[in-house]
């Protein structure tokens, strides 16, 4: 097998034995595997040749980019891993039509830097941006904090190229904003977690870079009020809200216990703390400071003062300089570390209708109290897109007990028209939830498509679809 792969790709592109250590575990350290080999093709045609060989020999293929996924999507026991990291060309950045054409192996933060030079942004961002690659980002339809303004990854992608399970190369490299020519295969491949095709190139949408950011901490009565605040802030700024992130009192307390030097968000303490960021695009909405320091968004302080006056918010603190802004973001971005201090936890990446977030939190506490009165939750949420990272510290880490909690929370989510998987995808970790919670007709339809396009089950087997 190694000889066959070396014949196709050349000797340096085929790794085996100890050379594959880096790919044997994932970022969460939850999944450990032993791939047959790791191959690193340099071109789409090389990817195609490997997949054609795999389809002919019945060898499972698992694609990998930056390996920053959270759901075990790159687990590769008994499979050949294809790393797309060498397809790392930023081929074109076209400022006038605001598109970038890139290879699947481009690292997100490298793309950020490349387009910044043109006063543009590729607005998708999240913690793993220094490692995550465009191919994996598209295959998982990554989300993050800016979805409220710019949408998910699929909303930022105009076209893709991919290698199908047969090894054929499908060319959907459209740069177009209107293209009604048959079934939309781009959207089918995006978010398919590498089970229908390996994305090798993409045409991405760029946006103008905001002239200034204003960042504030807001305190609200509850999350129903929080949504009213978001809508009012959108009205006041003309839809310029870039992020609107919820942190409960328990999270603020745990954060301060872990980082005693970090500033308190407010002089008082509140149940509902929100980090809000506004990005000003129009010249009259942004003012450069006289001393050349950070530009500011005009009007925001007046707007927030008005919100306090009419009772919409309880408190507000606007960052006065980049240091204060960074401190606000660090408090939110340290969530993964803060959650670890809670001991073993159950992480639920759920989404709810925007107007039912508070109802969910209230009902989830009740559900939890009946199953495990000593358990508590410490959850952060992207309020603008309805995504709650509902994290539970159970009193007992017995798998059956944990499953019972997961199942009860997922049932509540389903009853409230929510989703058990918001942005992290299915991979290995949520196949049971797929079986329990996904519309059975939808599930059968997905399987029929998988079987039609990958009859030999070559691409990323054992993921996404339940048995």
């Amino acid at each position: 097998m190694l000889d066959a792969l070396r014949e196709i790709l050349g000797p340096n592109a085929v790794l085996s034995g100890d050379d594959t250590v880096k790919w044997r575990s994932d970022w969460t350290d939850s999944y450990h595997c032993t791939p047959l080999a790791v191959v690193r093709p340099k071109t789409t045609h090389d990817v195609s040749a490997v997949v054609q060989w795999a389809n002919g020999t019945g060898t499972p293929i698992v694609p990998v980019g930056g390996n920053t996924g959270l759901s075990g999507g790159t687990f590769a026991d008994g499979a050949v891993m294809i790393s797309l990291d060498r397809l790392n060309q930023i081929e074109e950045v076209r400022p006038q039509s605001r598109v970038a054409i890139v290879g699947a192996g481009v690292i997100l933060s490298n793309l950020h830097e490349a387009v910044d030079a043109h006063d543009l942004v590729f607005p998708l961002t999240f913690g793993a941006k220094g490692s995550a690659m465009i191919g994996g980002i598209l295959s998982t339809n990554a989300g993050g904090s800016n979805v409220v303004r710019y949408g998910n990854t699929r909303d930022l992608c105009l076209g893709i190229e991919a290698v199908l399970p047969t090894g054929e190369i499908i060319n959907l490299m459209s740069e177009l904003h209107k293209d009604n020519s048959g079934l939309n295969l781009k959207h089918l491949l995006i978010g398919a977690e590498g089970t229908l095709g390996l994305i090798t190139r993409a045409v991405l949408k760029l946006h103008p870079k905001p002239r200034a950011f204003a960042t504030a901490m807001l305190a609200a009565k509850d999350l129903d009020a929080g949504l009213d605040v978001l809508n009012a802030l959108q009205q006041a700024t003309g839809g310029a809200v870039e992020a609107f992130e919820y942190m409960p009192r328990a999270y603020i307390d745990a954060h301060r216990a872990m980082f005693p030097a970090a500033p308190a968000p407010f002089a008082d303490s509140y149940d509902v703390n929100i980090l809000a960021e506004v990005g000003a695009l129009a010249p009259r909405d942004a003012r450069m400071m006289q001393d050349g320091s950070t530009p500011v968004v005009t009007h925001l302080e007046d707007t927030l003062a008005g919100f306090i006056e009419n009772g919409l918010i309880l408190d507000a603190v606007v960052a006065q300089n980049e240091g204060q802004r960074r401190a606000m973001w660090e408090r939110r971005e340290q969530a993964a570390e803060v959650v670890l201090t809670q001991g073993p936890v159950i992480q639920n990446d759920v989404a709810l209708p925007l107007d039912r977030l508070q109802e969910f939190l209230t009902k989830a506490s009740q559900v939890l109290a009946t199953i495990d009165p000593e358990a508590h939750d410490i959850s952060v949420a992207h309020v603008g897109d309805g995504n709650i990272h509902y994290t539970v510290s159970p009193s007992d880490t017995d798998p059956a007990h944990k499953d019972k909690i997961v199942e009860a929370i997922e049932k509540l989510v389903q009853d409230m028209r929510g989703s058990f998987s918001a942005e992290h995808g299915i991979g290995l970790s949520k196949r049971n939830s797929m079986k329990r919670r996904k519309d059975p007709i939808a599930l059968n339809t997905m399987k029929a498509i998988k079987e039609a396009l990958d009859p030999n089950g070559i691409l990323n087997p054992g993921k996404v679809y339940p048995d």
Copy 2:
């Protein structure tokens, strides 16, 4: 057959003979057909029962909404037509989370009115809005003039319910902004022109209603300059451009010949005339007139004066009242009538990369001159989304001659990374173009999906996929 359908739906929901006249031709009067029957179910379950019967008996089904399509997608010779017009409930409008839940038979302009009461908009709009229904709009992924700001129909839809070719009901009625739970079947069904499923209900995204509109006619040197103007206007307004519509000198002249009472767009005449509309969302961008008349967008006149000063545009006229605004829009919206005055025409609904529109127009003229020196074009375009309605008056209406022109234009479009079908879809009329121009691997993949989900070829046979 009629008895079986009457048994399923009741006698009043099954039309035959002369009662089906209304459905025998399409809006363009290009396609005439004789359906076996027209059925008008009132519920999703009734739609399901009819499709289950059709799948069992091998009877072709053609769905129809407002019947305003331009590509022959509802041609129904030898088929039972299912009209979704009685699924016309606006079930919920939820202003706080900005969603509407509607049946497939809701007429677009009725939805516009229902959400206007909440100071919200469903921003999709086009000429046929008084007849077009949500189900057809979704099945064709309709476009229109506001795509530059709000995207196509698929970008405005969070979830759908549909009846599959087996009669099974698939529930994808998500209201969620993040939902990564397997393959995205919603995007597969949207734009599939009723070949994979009949969309019966939808969750639609609403947007805040702009506080004021400013509408202007702008003259530019060419369409490359036009795109620079669009980008500059987006920068100046913080991305508030709602429409950016191109009309060439030939169109302005033909319009004035047909409507002598209509005002001229400018005192002088220009090659490149653009209707630009800005919708102001933030309070400081909109000013109510003292006398209570139309609110205006502040800053726009200063911005345009600046554009003239630095040579970005040649001329600008801002509508000073609603009457002047209407006149500007009527000039653009009368395109269908104006084009008819040119005699028999060839309509090409093509899309190009935004930065190649001028290059396309120049090269297309050269292509046309070599095939038919006496032909001329009279084309309007949505500059913000790259969609050109490239309309040719040939000197000879022989079908072979017309085909030669279509083929040459489509080849040029393809060579320039464009699409032969921007917003009108494939239906019957563009199946040849699909065969010639679509990536063959993509075409085979589409056919494999169609066969997997509709092995008996029940839904809208003979459309979209070439033989």
